[in-house]
C-alpha cells in the first residue's frame, strides 16, 4: 500500500501517461455562503453589473445580493409576498417575474432598496390552486413580447379546472395574452436563443417519453394533452389537434397530428439527467472550448449539461453531452453573469436530487484548462462529424483506431409515465476519417434514422498529450438528415 504512490510517481515520466482531468479541474464551482436564516430556494436569477444579483425564491421573496462572488456577499430582502416566482428579467427600472397568477413587474420607486410598486402586466389566465401550476419566465422575444410557459396541474384542483395549463403564452403589454404553443408538460426552463428562436426544456413523464429541449413556434403542439381543450377557446393560436394516439412511435406522430413538434434534443433518461430546468447560452464566449454553446441545468442530477444545436433543412436539432456534475443541490436556474461565469440557482424541495444540500447558489466558471472533449457532434448526409477540443494523436490513431459505437432509438407517445428506448438499432460504421489537423473526425454510416436519438460511445481515442476524452459519449437527436 505504501509503495503504490511511489511507484506511480516514478512511472509518470517514463510512460508518458498524462494526468486524466476531472470535471472539477476544468470548471470550477464556487459556493455563495448564505446566512443561516435565508432559505435560498432559487426560482429565478437576474445577474446585474458590478457583481450584483437578484434572486427570486420559491418562497416568494426577491433577494438582492451585492459582492455576490466575494467571500462576504451582502443580502437584502428586496421584496416578499410573490406567489412562487420562477423567473426574473429586467427592463429599465422594472423587474419582471412570472408568478402563479400573473406576470408582474416590480420596481423600487423611492430607491430605498426595497421594492414598492407592483404592477400586473397580464393575468389573463386563472389558477385552480394546484401546487404544480407553476409559470416559468418571462423571456422577451426578438420583438420585445414576453413569453412564459405554464406547467400542467397534477391532482386536486381546489378552485376548479382552469384552461391554459401546459402552454406557452405570449404577452404584449397592454394586450390580451396570446396562447401560442400547446402540449407542454413541466416546462421548467425557457430561454431566447442568440439567433432569436425561443426554446424551452420539458420533463419526462406521461405523454412525454423523454426529457427534452424544443423550440416554441406559434401554432405547434408538443404532445401533452392535459391543457389541449383550451385550443378550442377563441384566444388560442393553436388549432385543436384532436385526440392523441396512445402508443405511437414519435417519428410517426407528425404525420398523424399536423403541427406536432418533435424536440431539438432529447435528454435520454438517467444517462443525461432526469429533470432539465433552466438554461443559458454562453453569449460572452467565456466557456473556453465551448464558447457560445448552451448549458442546461438538471434538477435531479444536480448537474449542468451541454447542448449544441444546428439547423438542418430548417429544423433545429443537435446533441447533448455530460458537462459538470456534483453541484450542491438540484439545479433550477443557470444564468450567465456579466463576468462570463454562470450563476447556478438550486432547490430540491419536493423533488429529490443527488445534490447534498436542499438549496443554494453557486457560480461555475472555466478554469482556463482545455480538456479533451467532443466539442460538437454534427450530422452530415452520410454520417456524423465530431469536432474535438484538442488534436488527436495521429500515430496512435493509425496504429490502433479507436472504437466507435452508435446505437439509435426513439420514444413512444403514450399516456404511461416515460417511454423506454424503442426500436433500437446498432449502426454500421465505416472507416473513420481524421482530418489533417487531427481536430475533426468523420464517422461514416448509412444507417441514419430521422426522429431517433443516436447515442455515441467512443473508446481509445487519444489526444496528442496522451489523454482520453473526459466525456466519451454524446446523444444526437436526429430530426432531419441533411441533403
Amino acid at each position: 500500500m505504501v509503495i503504490t504512490p511511489l511507484l506511480s510517481l516514478l512511472c509518470l515520466p517514463l510512460a508518458e501517461a498524462p494526468a486524466q482531468l476531472q470535471e472539477a479541474d476544468v470548471y470550477e464551482v464556487q459556493t455563495v455562503a448564505l446566512p443561516e436564516e435565508i432559505e435560498m430556494e432559487v426560482g429565478g436569477l437576474l445577474p446585474l453589473p458590478n457583481d450584483q444579483l437578484l434572486v427570486c425564491t420559491r418562497r416568494g421573496e426577491i433577494w438582492h445580493i451585492s459582492a455576490a462572488s466575494s467571500e462576504e456577499p451582502a443580502f437584502t430582502l428586496w421584496t416578499d409576498g410573490l406567489q412562487e416566482p420562477l423567473g426574473l428579467w429586467q427592463q429599465g427600472e422594472w423587474v419582471y417575474t412570472a408568478t402563479r397568477g400573473a406576470l408582474m413587474r416590480i420596481r423600487d420607486q423611492d430607491k430605498d432598496g426595497r421594492a414598492d410598486d407592483f404592477e400586473v402586466v397580464n393575468d389573463d389566465w386563472d389558477i385552480s390552486g394546484n401546487y404544480h401550476e407553476y409559470n416559468f419566465g418571462p423571456r422577451p422575444d426578438a420583438e420585445g413580447n414576453w413569453w412564459i410557459t405554464t406547467n400542467r396541474a397534477f391532482g386536486t384542483e381546489s378552485f376548479g379546472h382552469k384552461p391554459w395549463r401546459g402552454w406557452a403564452l405570449r404577452i404584449q403589454e397592454g394586450q390580451p395574452m396570446e396562447p401560442m404553443v400547446a402540449g407542454l408538460r413541466s416546462p421548467a426552463g425557457i430561454e431566447l436563443s442568440p439567433w432569436g428562436d425561443m426554446f424551452y426544456t420539458d420533463n419526462q413523464g406521461e405523454w412525454c417519453g423523454a426529457s427534452k429541449l424544443a423550440v416554441l413556434r406559434k401554432g405547434d403542439y408538443h404532445g401533452h394533452p392535459f391543457g389541449i381543450k383550451s385550443a378550442a377557446l377563441p384566444q388560442s393560436r393553436v388549432k385543436y389537434p384532436g385526440e392523441n394516439p396512445d402508443g405511437m412511435l414519435m417519428p410517426e406522430v407528425p404525420e398523424y397530428i399536423p403541427h406536432f413538434q418533435l424536440p431539438a434534443v432529447w435528454f435520454p433518461y438517467d444517462k443525461m439527467g432526469r429533470s432539465p430546468s433552466g438554461m443559458a447560452w454562453d453569449t460572452k464566449g467565456s466557456m473556453g472550448p465551448f464558447a457560445g454553446q448552451l448549458f442546461v441545468g438538471d434538477q435531479y442530477q444536480a448537474s449542468v449539461m451541454r447542448v449544441t444545436l444546428e439547423q438542418v433543412n430548417g429544423v433545429w436539432q443537435g446533441a447533448c453531452y455530460p458537462f459538470r456534475k456534483g453541484l450542491a443541490a438540484g439545479v433550477i436556474r443557470v444564468s450567465q453573469a456579466p463576468d462570463g461565469g454562470f450563476w447556478i440557482g438550486m432547490s430540491d424541495r419536493g423533488w429529490p436530487s443527488l445534490g447534498q444540500e436542499g438549496f443554494g447558489l453557486q457560480k461555475l466558471s472555466w478554469s482556463g484548462v482545455v480538456p479533451f472533449e467532443i466539442r460538437e457532434m454534427k450530422v452530415e448526409p452520410k454520417g456524423f462529424r465530431l469536432f474535438l477540443t484538442k488534436a488527436v494523436d495521429r500515430k496512435r490513431f493509425a496504429a490502433s483506431p479507436p472504437s466507435m459505437q452508435i446505437e439509435s432509438y426513439t420514444y413512444e407517445l403514450h399516456s404511461a409515465y416515460g417511454s423506454d428506448e424503442m426500436d433500437r438499432k446498432a449502426l454500421e460504421i465505416g472507416a473513420l476519417q481524421l482530418s489533417e489537423d487531427g481536430m475533426e473526425l468523420f464517422i461514416p454510416t448509412s444507417d441514419l434514422r430521422e426522429g431517433y436519438v443516436h447515442e455515441l460511445h467512443v473508446q481509445d481515442l487519444f489526444a496528442q498529450e496522451g489523454e482520453t476524452l473526459l466525456h466519451a459519449e454524446a446523444y444526437y437527436t436526429l430530426q432531419r438528415i441533411p441533403r
Binding site: F118, Y131, F154, G155
Partner: protein, 873 residues
Amino acid sequence: MAGVLSSRIWPLCGFSVVAAAMATVPLLAQEPGLPRELSRQDSLQLDWLVARDQCLTCHREPKKQELFPELYGPDIRISNFSQPDWVEAWLLDPQSLRPGTRMPSMLEGLPEEERQQAAADLRAYLLEGDNSFDSSGTEVTPEQVLEGERLFAEVGCMACHEDAFADRSLARRTSVKQLQNQLLTPSLTWPNSLMPDMHLSEDEAFALSAWLLREQAGYGGFEELPGLRWRAYAWDGVGNGPNWDIESVFAEGSAVSLHEEYGGRQDRYGILFTGTWQVKEAGEYTVYVGSDDGNRLLIDGEVVLDARVNQSHTRHQTTLDLEQGPHEFRLEYYENSGDASLEAGWIQPDGEDHPFGADALTHLGKAFRPIPISGTGLEGDPGHGSSWYQKLRCNQCHEGSTHMSNPRAPQWGKLSSGQGCLSETPEPLVPQYTWTEEERALLAFAVENPHQLTRARNHQDLADLQIKTQNCTACHEWPGLGGPSSAQYQRFQGEGDFGDEGRVPPSLHGVSAKLQPDWLEEVLLEGASVRPYMRTRMPNYNSVGGKRTLSSLQHLAPPPVAKPAQEFRPEMVTLGQQLTGIEGFACVSCHQFAGHRSAGIQGLDLVTTQERLRPEWFEAWMRDPHQFRKQTRMPVFWNEQGVSGLTKFGDGQADVQIPALWTYLSMGVSAPLPKGLVVDGDDDLLVPTDRPLYFGTFLQGLSARVLTVGFPERVHLAFDEHNVRLAKVWRGDFMRTSGTWNGRAGQLEKPAGTDVFDLPPGPAFAFLEEDQDWPELAGKEAGWRMLGHRRDALGHPTFRYQWGPLMVEEKIYPVLTAYGTIFRREFSLESTEDLPGLYWQHLRRSSNLPWEPVTLVREGELFVAQLQEDLSW
C-alpha cells in the same frame, strides 16, 4: 371549618359513591329532641341530600321547587346502552350491582316470584321492539387499555371516580362502543347527568372505555387475531412520509388485507401496518412492495425494502432468509397526491403470489363483549310491564319535568317522619334508599320542620349548594366546603416548573369577583381553559346543572365596570409593551404571549387577561398576588408606596404602570408583541415584528391567488387578487407557511390567528339599481381588473384595481384602539367620466343600509372621490 358532613365524594355520573367516615355525629347526639334550627353546614348537607335523591320529584314542595337542581335519571327508554339481562338484574337489586347508586330499589316487599316477574315484565316493556343493543365484539388492543389507564388518572376522572369502578358492573352492562359514545357525549341519554364532557377525542374515549371494561378481556387475556392493525396518520407532505412518532393518528383499525385507502383521505397521509408474520416453514422468501407513493418494509425491526419517494406505482422486491415462527411485520406507506396504490406480499419458489393478509399475519388483540349476567329467565309481558311503569311512577325520575303531573306521593309539607321512604319497615313497593343514619336523621328533621326547605336562602347558600351538587370541590377549593381529597391532591399532574400552581386546579375563592362574567360562562359551559401545563382537564358543563352553577356564581359579585376608567391612549399601549418585554418587568420570561413561547416556564398566555379578568381584580393581583395565592411564583413589582425599581418606563409608578399594562393587554391577540418572546421557535409561523410581511398563497374558501399581509400590530388581512377584493381580516397570529413552503406544497392555507372576519361577498363598489342586492360576483367576471399594489415607507399596502373608466386605490393600515387594533381603509377613486349609480359597500355598523351612493366630484378632466372607514370587528 367545614362541617364534617361536607367532605363527601359522590358520583358525578351516578356510577358509585364513596362514603366518607363520619368523624362526629352532631344530630344523633341530640336525639330524641331534634334541634329547631340546623347549623349552616347541616342545612347545606340536607339541601344537597334532597337535591341528590330528588325527593321533591315525588314529594312536591311548590314554594321552593325551583331551588333544587333537577337531576332526573337517564332516559331509560333509550335502552341500547345496557344489555337486556342487566336491566332485569338492575331492577331487582341496583345496590348490589353498583353500591351507592342513587337508584332506589323499587320492587321491595313483593313475594319473590312476583318480584322476578315484575322485573321481567318491566324489561319486556322497556325494551319492547328494541333489539338495538349490540353485543358483538369490539376489537381492543393492549395498548388501548394502557392508554385508557393513563388517561383515567391524568384527565381527572379519578377526582370523582376514586374507586376506578372497582365493582366492575360496567363490564357486565355495556360494550366498548356504547361506553365510548356515552363518554363522548354524556348528555346523550341523560341530559341532566352530572357527568361533564371531558373534551375527549374519539380515540381517548375508546381507550378509556377499553380500560373501564378491561375485565371483558377475560381470563385468557389478549390473543393473536388474524390480520393486521393499521393506523392512518396525518401528514403535511414534508419529507419522506410522516414521522410516525410525532404525527397524529386520525383513524385506526384491524383488517384482513392491505389497502391504500384506509382512513379515507385523498392526499397527504400515511398508513402504518403492523402485525406478526407467522412463517410456517423456514426458507428463502422473496418479498415485494409496490406503491404510489412511498413505502418502507421492516421485518423484525430491520429495513428490508425502502422506497420512501414520491413515485408513480413502482414495485421493489428482495429475498429474505426466514426462520419458522413469528416475525415482526411493519409496513410504512404514504401517499402525497394524485393516484394512490399499495400491494405487498411474498412469492413462493413456484411463483405463487401471496399478498400479505390474514392467512399469514396476526396481531395482538381481543374482541371485548359484555360479560353475561343472569337475568330472571322469565318471559316478560310488555303490557304488564307498562302497568308496572305507571304504578311505580318510573317516569317521574326518568322522563323529566314534563311528566310531573299526578305525583305518586304526598307533598313534602304533609309528610311525617318514620313513614314511607323513611319508615323502618316500609310497605311493599316503597322505594328503598340506602341512607346512612345521619342522612335519615336530617331528612326526618326536614319532614318535621318543613320550613327548613322553604326558608329563604341567600346567594351564597345557593352557590354553595350548586358547588357541592356539581362536585366542583373534587378539584377546586371552595370556602366552607374544602377542596380535593389529599389523595387527589397528590394525583394532579402538570408540566413545567410551576410547583403546585402548575398542577392543582385553582381555588374558586373569590372567583366571581375575579373573572369576567362572559369568561366564567365560557369556562363552565364551553370548557375554556388557559393553563396548558395542567394535565387535568376543566370539563365542559354545558348542562342544566352547569347553567345553574354559572348563574349562582354570577350572583355573588356585582356586574363589572363596563368601560375602562381611563380613556384609551395609544402611548399607553407602547408603555405596556415595554413593561411586558424583557427590558421591562420581563413578564414574557414566564408567560406565553399570543401563542408564542416565553423564554422560561410557559405560564398562561397574557393576551387572555382582558377577556378573563376584571380590571379591579387585575390591579389588586398585580399589587399583591400573594393575598390571592400564598405560594404563587408571581413576583411583587411595587412596594407598599406603589413604587417599582423599574423607573425608565412610566417613572416606576404603579398608578401609571398598572393601567398601562392593562391597556396594553386589553388589546388581546392584537397587542404588538413585546420584546423577548421566542417567536422563531416555531419555524412554520410568519411573525411580523418590525414591518409588515407579505405572503402570497392559496387561501381556503377564497381563491388560489391571495396576497396576505401581516402587521406587527397583530392584525392581518387577506386581499383576494383573483376576486379583486379585501376578503378577510383577523387578529393574533398571521399565517403558517407549511402548506406553501414545505414539500411540493400547494395546500390551502387559512389564517393562523383568531377573530377572523369575512367581509361580505362582492366588490367594494358596484352599480346598483333600486332595491337591488349587493352583487356577489366579483373579479374579472364582474369587470374588475387587478392592477397591482404599492407599499409605502412603513410597508403598508395600497391595492389598485380598475373597472372600466374607474380606478380605485385602497390603502389599508392598522390603528390601535382599546380592546384591539382595527384597520382603517382609505379609498381614492378616479374616473374619466361621471358614474351615477355607483355605490360603496361600507362596513359601518351604525348605518341602516350596508351601502351608500358615491358622489364623484369633478376635478379638472377627472371625477374623483375620497372615502374612509374604520373596519372594526
